[in-house]
């Protein structure tokens, strides 16, 4: 599929190649003191780098030393296993030819690696390995002793579910990967790890299910990741902004989740997951627009309820998008559309308001945005002050003072609640921005302007793509087979196939035999057990 992906401009590529010169890494010295001196000088004599000299280790004929980072290593492992076994071991009978031979099979530790140049050595040291130097060898051994303090697994704070797993991702990439592995216990769950970030050297792991995910999409992801050459990756959002298809849009073209079950479900639909060390948010792609209206509970509840909730969320999306705009358009352009009684009621409130409806709406919306921003950033202890100020000052006093009308407060409140009810934060913040654009178009042209805005929005949405997958699929282009999981959520047994744009060769979700659950015709309703009654 040659035209599947948009060809990127060639300009960026050349500069990227120029910068990516292979760093010439100097080899290690044979003299222990020289090596240790390099470490102290390169790390600026940092206090958390521990150099422990083992002068009289019986294991090594010559002097040796271990180097590790305090805090990143598991102190217990280093002290009780590593140092102890080095000091208390029997002397060697014959001269070992290499360090590997000398240490392997001797230290009761997992991963062991021989290091010969400084670059890899520092990388190992900084990620929590313990490095063993021995005088007379121009190499060092690294043993995996990663540990230190970490946040334990907690309930996810962003995507809550009433019925569903209570696990949420943590900041540790290994823990996160293991949590998904625990759900999908299959060897076809493949991972690839790379390091991104010149300074931060952050571990980034691609995860996908071989056979279910499309190979060309995974290849494209790899290419996009390889092109990233930045200083730091502090959160998965950094990666997201470098690999998205279209940056000139308010809509997210990658999904992020804090829930292992959501990640597993998406992997099973043929998507890839991108884990970034230090971030509890795992990126998922390719995404479609309708995915932002899904919630994990949709699949655990029966489909009547799920479908009703999906439709409610679509309604919520529209309310939070065009709620204030509709009010502005109706009260300033299309008064004939409002029932007489309501019009009179709104007009009565507007009598004392000095501003046009549009200005009134902007005042209230901006005030609300300020309140919301304050609510997020404020320390929890003074959080209640915000609600008092918000409810009293904005809600009541503003109306009583005649600055805004009560109807406007209702509209802003409904819009605010609607934007909180959107299941995905990514889509909620994009509607927040678009809401203001719609308000402007409604204030200039009324409903006509809103319809124009809507047409532009729909055209824009249909032009978006995520890793080549049309953003509005399966609605546009229309894929009848995939419609089962869009604005409606059909019964699970009718959901035979994976989304056709994303899945590779393995398209079927369920066997031919599986279908609508139906008891055998011969089975009668169970009659009352007379024996129990006695």
């Amino acid at each position: 599929m040659p035209s599947f992906f948009k060809k990127k401009s060639q300009k960026g590529k050349k500069t990227a190649e120029k910068q990516k010169k292979p760093a010439v890494s100097s080899p290690l010295s044979e003299v222990l003191e020289e090596n240790l001196a390099v470490i102290t000088s390169k790390t600026g004599n940092s206090t958390d780098i521990i150099i422990r000299r083992l002068k009289h280790s019986p294991r090594f004929k010559t002097e040796s030393a271990i180097v590790y980072l305090k805090g990143l290593t598991d102190t217990q492992t280093v002290q009780e296993i590593l140092i102890e076994s080095l000091m208390k071991s029997d002397p060697v009978e014959q001269e070992p030819s290499s360090m590997q031979e000398m240490v392997e099979g001797y230290l009761p530790l997992g991963i062991m690696e021989s290091l010969k140049d400084w670059e890899t050595l520092f990388q190992a040291l900084m990620s929590g390995h313990t490095i063993i130097f021995v005088d007379g060898f121009s190499e060092a051994m690294s043993t995996s002793t990663e540990g230190g303090e970490q946040r334990s697994i907690e309930e996810p704070s962003t995507q809550r579910a009433i019925r569903g797993s209570r696990e949420g991702f943590t900041e540790s990439i290994e823990t996160n990967i293991s949590m998904v592995r625990r759900i999908i216990q299959n060897p076809t769950l493949w991972t690839e790890t790379m390091t991104i970030g010149r300074v931060t050297k952050t571990k980034v792991t691609i995860m996908y299910i071989k056979g279910i995910a499309r190979d060309d999409i995974i290849e494209e992801l790899r290419n996009r990741l390889k092109k990233i050459d930045i200083d730091s990756v502090l959160e998965s959002g950094y990666i997201e902004q470098y690999i998205e298809d279209q940056s000139l849009t308010v809509f997210p073209t990658l999904y992020h989740s804090e829930r292992p079950d959501v990640v597993a479900g998406n992997l099973l639909e043929g998507r890839f997951a991108l884990f970034v060390n230090g971030s509890p948010f795992v990126l998922l792609g390719p995404v479609v627009f309708i995915q932002f209206f899904q919630s994990i509970e949709d699949y655990t509840e029966r489909f009547y309820i799920s479908t009703a909730l999906r439709l409610l969320r679509v309604l919520i999306f529209f309310i939070s998008l065009i709620g204030p705009a509709t009010y502005i358009a109706a009260t300033t352009f299309h008064q004939e559309m409002i029932p007489t009684q309501l019009l009179v009621a709104i007009a009565a409130q507007r009598e004392s308001v000095p501003f046009p409806s549009f200005v009134e709406a902007i005042i209230m919306e901006v005030t609300f945005e300020i309140l919301r921003e304050a609510g997020i950033r404020m320390p929890k202890a003074i959080g209640s002050a915000i609600s008092i100020v918000g409810a009293l000052v904005i809600g009541q006093a503003a109306v009583q003072a005649g600055v805004v009308s009560a109807a406007m407060v209702i509209i802003v409140a409904i819009t605010a609640i609607a934007s909180f009810a959107t299941p995905s934060f990514g889509i909620a913040i994009s509607t927040r921005l678009l809401r203001f654009l719609f308000m402007i178009s409604a204030a200039t042209f009324g409903f006509y302007g809103m319809i124009l805005g809507f047409i532009i929005l729909v055209v824009h949405l249909c032009g978006l793509r995520s890793f080549g997958v049309p953003y509005m699929s399966p609605l546009a282009p229309f894929v009848p087979a995939d419609i089962n999981d869009t604005v409606i959520r059909g019964p699970l047994w009718a959901d035979r196939k994976r989304p056709s744009f994303m899945s590779g060769q393995n398209q079927l979700r369920q066997g031919e035999e599986t279908g609508r659950p139906e008891p055998d015709k011969s089975r009668q309703m169970v009659t009352k057990n007379e024996g129990d009654a006695q």
Binding site: T332, F333, Q341, A345, A348, R350, A401
Partner: protein, 404 residues
Amino acid sequence: MKRHVAVFFIMVLSLSFLAGCWSKKELNDLAIVSAVALDLDKQGRFIGTFQFVNPGNVTGGFQGGGGGQGNAVSVYSAKGDNMDEISRRMSTKVSRNLYYAHANLLVISEELAKKKGILPILDAFDRDPTFRNTATVVISHQAKAADLVKTLTAIDKIPANKMIKMLRFSERVYGGTMNVMIMDVVRDLTDDGKQPVISGLNLKGSAETGKTLQNIMQTTPESAPQIGGLALFKDGKLTGWLNGSKARGAVWTLNKIKKTEININKKGKKAAIVLEVIRQNTKISATTIDGTAHLMVKVETEGNIGETKVPINLKDPMVIKRLEYGFEGAIEKEIKSAITVAQKKKTDIFGFGDAVHRSQPETWKRISKNWDEDYFAKANVKIKVDVFVRRTGLRSNSFLSDVK
């Protein structure tokens, strides 16, 4: 190339700002017209009287909104030779843009309807984009149209609303009136086989007290608009009135009765047995044979026994049957009286002409010009009523049968 695209977009965007807020009207800049009344002055010019809503005074008790102290409406008048002139002259008295989209009532004075007819005024309302052609039309009966819209009303604070709701409610449960919209009148006027009929409103009490707040501070408002009969039109001019049971007879014939009551005398007592009509269907047909028109009205009615003043055995089907015959006679009498009046006034408000048009299209072409005078006025009328008593309410026999 990119620059060209950018410049193009900037130009397109600027266009939207050039338009400004085209046709934007803030609610506080609108004078919401709730009713329009039309009278005739001595020189034969039109007097337009507009009822404007005072929003702050309608929604009483709202904080910061003024608090329902004054009148719910204000009324202003202007003179002119046509509707547009009246509307523009109104600007010398009113501070805000006139907004007609919520004017749901058009009151035409009896005098105007008689002398000038409704033909010269309706076009303005039919043509104006904001004025709804679903607005109700009424004729002021024995009162000035202006006085009707000036009268303050209780319960429904906006008098126009009160009058419209009254017409609709009465049409639904009593049947002696009809809620006629501008578009109905226009349709009847352009139809050569049917003449328009419009509900009338009286003003009870004096016009002067109706204007003051004292009027609605009493439990029984001294002045209040009140439904009064149906106005018959011929060639766009008012020719006469149908009142009381005659008006209801006309509504029966027009198949507009939804619910009503019919009573008959029994055992020497007046209005002793009452039938609550719950549904009915009336069909009219007409033919001309040898220059004489034969009109046929067929009514099928269903109802419940609503009330009995005399002991009567309602368990007996034969008794019910006899009651049904009685009700049929009562309905027939009402219809007959309505048609007789219309025949006297030589105006076919029932659409018998249309029925001839349907049954004898060729003949109709010939006779349509003088249908009202030569045919309808002299026509034979046949009325067939079929009443069916469906239920007798909660009781079968009244307790009156057991009174010792």
